[in-house]
């Protein structure tokens, strides 16, 4: 059984001038254990795909389906999709002043556990685990007391997303340009985090502009998204080809 199955997905972004179609018949299948890289020109709809899958407000689904495991996603509330195991690492993580990182993570863990009928983690064990993860991503433990992303640098925000990924251990992770804005060391740290997360049960959709990331996180498939649909798929060598030739030859 596939982990994620997106079929002929059409979606629009809601703008002041009315809905504007962005995804135009996108089909994608992710099996357990696979990493799919999605590349493509600016504005081609990569973030839109991530947002529509996770149920962000501001979009309408005009057709098609998306199923996670056995669960059709597109009718569900965003938190329900998250509770089913869908995780989105944001291209632009948002700040939540006054809500400490630790508090936020605890609320998240508890919600997920509750939804799955699992026992909520013991606070002490939980905090220990979070601290360990933070230091494994070179995040100062003092971060955990600060407001969510409050005053974090761009790179710190991205590492924070990966820390959440490792803590929450979702079924499917959609990483939207988690590599952009990272220095070389941080890129390795983040890639190492993603590799640690990978297992034969879960899957990753890796949205990126840079072939470089794929040296660290080796994808099983590379897709090119252009004008709202996947126009080319291949293995890692496709990324190298894109780096050499750009996107023009595909569109």
């Amino acid at each position: 059984m596939s982990l994620l199955s997106v079929s002929n997905l059409h979606a629009s972004v809601v703008t002041d001038e009315g809905p504007q179609p962005i995804l135009k018949g996108l089909t994608l299948q992710v099996n357990p254990g696979e990493v799919h890289a999605i590349m493509g020109p600016n504005g081609s709809g990569k973030s839109t795909l991530a947002n529509v899958l996770s149920g962000r407000p501001g979009y309408t689904v005009d057709g098609g389906t998306a199923v996670l495991g056995n669960d059709p996603l597109l009718e569900l509330e965003p938190f329900e999709r998250a509770q089913l195991g869908l995780f989105l690492a944001f291209q632009y993580p948002v700040e939540i002043p006054g809500v400490s990182n630790m508090e936020f993570l605890k609320a998240s863990m508890d919600s997920l556990a509750r939804a799955r009928g699992e026992e909520q983690p013991n606070t002490a064990t939980f905090m220990k685990r979070v601290r360990e993860l933070a230091s494994s991503l070179d995040l100062d433990p003092a971060f955990l007391k600060r407001g969510v992303n409050e005053g974090f640098s761009g790179g710190e925000k991205k590492r924070n997303e990966i820390m959440q990924l490792l803590l929450l251990d979702p079924k499917l992770a959609v990483l939207d340009e988690t590599d952009s804005g990272l220095d070389i060391d941080a890129l390795q740290t983040v890639a190492e985090g993603v590799n640690r997360y990978r297992s034969s049960d879960n899957g990753v959709i890796l949205i990126t502009h840079y072939q470089r990331l794929l040296d660290y996180i080796v994808p099983d498939f590379v897709h090119v998204l252009s004008n709202g649909s996947i126009v080319q798929s291949g293995d890692k060598s496709l990324a190298l080809e894109l780096e050499a030739k750009g996107y023009a030859w595909l569109t």
Binding site: S54, R56, P57, P78, P93, G98, V99, S111
Partner: protein, 497 residues
């Protein structure tokens, strides 16, 4: 006071009315207000002549005064002749016998607030289980339960008495400590201070009296739960707290009102006096019935609260979490008369649906090197109006006075309003006055970020709002901080679709 049986409780409640009360059956004065009503109230409580005269003087002032109209709130005119001004407690047997008989909606709210069962019972008016009332959760909280207008149970008295602390209904203090009451009643808020203070002075029902002797640290937090019980009964609480030189006290006031259909007037007066080196911390969680989502019903909360730092290095700190009432009109203030005295005001005011709040503070600097801090967090949701109104006055005598004001508004949705009216009157050029203000929204992006991590919408909103209020919640005593957080969550129900 031992409260081993229900009968004891009833007894102790009627004790100081001996001679006037033949039974404890409920007795409510017919609606209307004139001199005779004022005299009746005073006589009913067996008050000394000076207090009857004091009330009559207040009543005379009130008759000459006009209802204030400057607040940013709108409501139909109040007919003061339609209100009943006295209500004795109902017979204990009239109340529900157990929680099973209480409106489940009310219990659901209590439960969400995390109020312990025996306190729920007390709040819901269940015939009290005396053993439970004597041992509130958190142990070290002395609860003076005000049922309607007359206090009927006071606990922890002995413990406090040992420390020399006086904590009793003000109606009792009038008899047991007349010299203190006469000296300080109206000393901070004169009878004709404002329209509602004058009304309260004329007809006040009951409230708490606290005296902390010189150098004493009150051994526990003092707490009062107020409740409006009877239909159409105005509630006119009167509280007086005196901290003698070098003493410390922390007082908690919490309110929960049951569902009511008609608007009810609540015009309380709270006076605080801190003598030299004394400290008073007064915390409020106010959750009167706010009316339904269309603005029907709800309490009109027109309160006058003021503290006087009478001596050097005195400190008065107001912390309030205001989530209830249809209309709130309230400005807990501090008069900084003593040199180096300190005034603080930490406030969270949340309005939802059709609620209106006009609240803030006044810091009146008179002494040298006086210092005040104002942190106000206003949260508006639904179609509500939330307004901060603050005055910082630096008198010519207030050499080197300092004030810092931070005033933040948070909007949820786009049907609500937030307004800020800071007034600064500086008559001394050695003073420093700082004002910071911000307005922000709970953004869709923030909500989505929480939801994407599995957190449900209402919890997400409440978490974000709690984060916004953190600086104020930090000032609350522990017992209240948790309750306050939950209160926001309950009050915001339905604020985000």
């Amino acid at each position: 006071m031992s409260t081993s049986t229900v009968d004891d409780l009833v007894e102790s409640g009627s004790e100081y009315h001996a001679g006037f009360v033949t039974d404890v059956e409920s007795e409510t004065l017919p609606p209307g207000l004139d001199e005779d009503v004022v005299r009746y109230i005073s006589a009913r409580k067996g008050e000394p002549q000076w207090l009857t005269d004091w009330r009559l003087k207040a009543f005379a002032s009130w008759q000459e005064m006009r209802e204030p109209k400057w607040a940013h709130v709108h409501y139909p005119p109040i007919n003061f002749q339609e209100i009943s001004y006295y209500s004795a407690p109902k017979s204990q047997t009239d109340g529900p016998r157990s929680l099973d008989e209480v409106d489940p909606e009310l219990l659901r709210t209590y439960e969400k607030l995390g109020i312990p069962l025996h306190e729920q019972a007390a709040l819901a008016g269940v015939v009290p289980d005396p053993a439970a009332i004597g041992t509130p959760a958190g142990a070290n909280v002395a609860v003076d339960v005000v049922f309607d207008s007359v206090s009927i149970a006071t606990t922890f008295k002995e413990n406090l008495a040992e420390a020399g602390v006086i904590f009793c209904p003000i109606s009792e203090a009038v008899h047991s400590h007349p010299e203190l009451v006469q000296k300080y009643l109206g000393s901070v808020i004169p009878q004709r201070d404002n329209y509602y203070a004058a009304l309260n002075s004329a007809v006040f029902s009951d409230g708490s009296f606290v005296y902390i002797p010189k150098g004493v640290r009150c051994p526990m937090e003092l707490s009062t739960y107020f409740r409006i019980n009877e239909r159409n009964t105005g509630q006119f609480e009167r509280t007086l707290i005196i901290a003698d030189e070098g003493s410390h006290v922390s007082y908690l006031e919490g309110c929960t009102a049951p569902m009511r259909d008609e608007n009810q007037l609540h015009a309380a007066v709270v006076e605080l006096v801190a003598l030299g080196d004394a400290q008073i911390k007064y915390s409020t969680v106010q959750n009167w019935y706010p009316g339904d989502e269309n603005g029907k019903g709800g309490i009109y909360n027109f309160v006058t609260k003021r503290g006087l730092c009478a001596g050097p290095r005195a400190k008065i700190s107001w912390t309030q979490v205001e989530t209830g009432s249809a209309i709130t009109w309230k400005y807990p203030s501090v008069v900084l008369r003593g040199d180096e005295s300190v005034g603080e005001f930490y406030s969270v005011a949340l309005t939802n649906n059709r609620q209106q709040a006009d609240t803030g503070t006044k810091m009146i600097h008179m002494g040298k090197n006086t210092k005040s801090t104002i942190v106000s967090k206003g949260i508006s949701a639904g179609g509500s109006e939330n307004c901060y109104r603050g005055l910082v006055r630096i008198s010519p005598t207030a050499q080197n006075a300092r004030n810092f004001t931070q005033c933040d508004s948070l909007l949820i949705g786009d049907q609500c309003g937030a307004h800020t009216f800071p007034y600064i009157e500086n008559k001394n050029n050695s003073a420093t006055v700082e004002h910071e203000a911000s307005t922000s929204k709970v953004s869709d992006d923030q909500l989505f970020a929480c939801q994407q991590r599995g957190i449900e919408t209402e919890q997400a909103v409440s978490m974000i709002v709690n984060g916004f209020c953190k600086e104020v919640f930090r000032e609350l005593p522990m017992e209240f901080a948790v309750e306050a957080g939950k209160l926001l969550e309950v009050s915001l129900e339905g604020a985000v679709g």
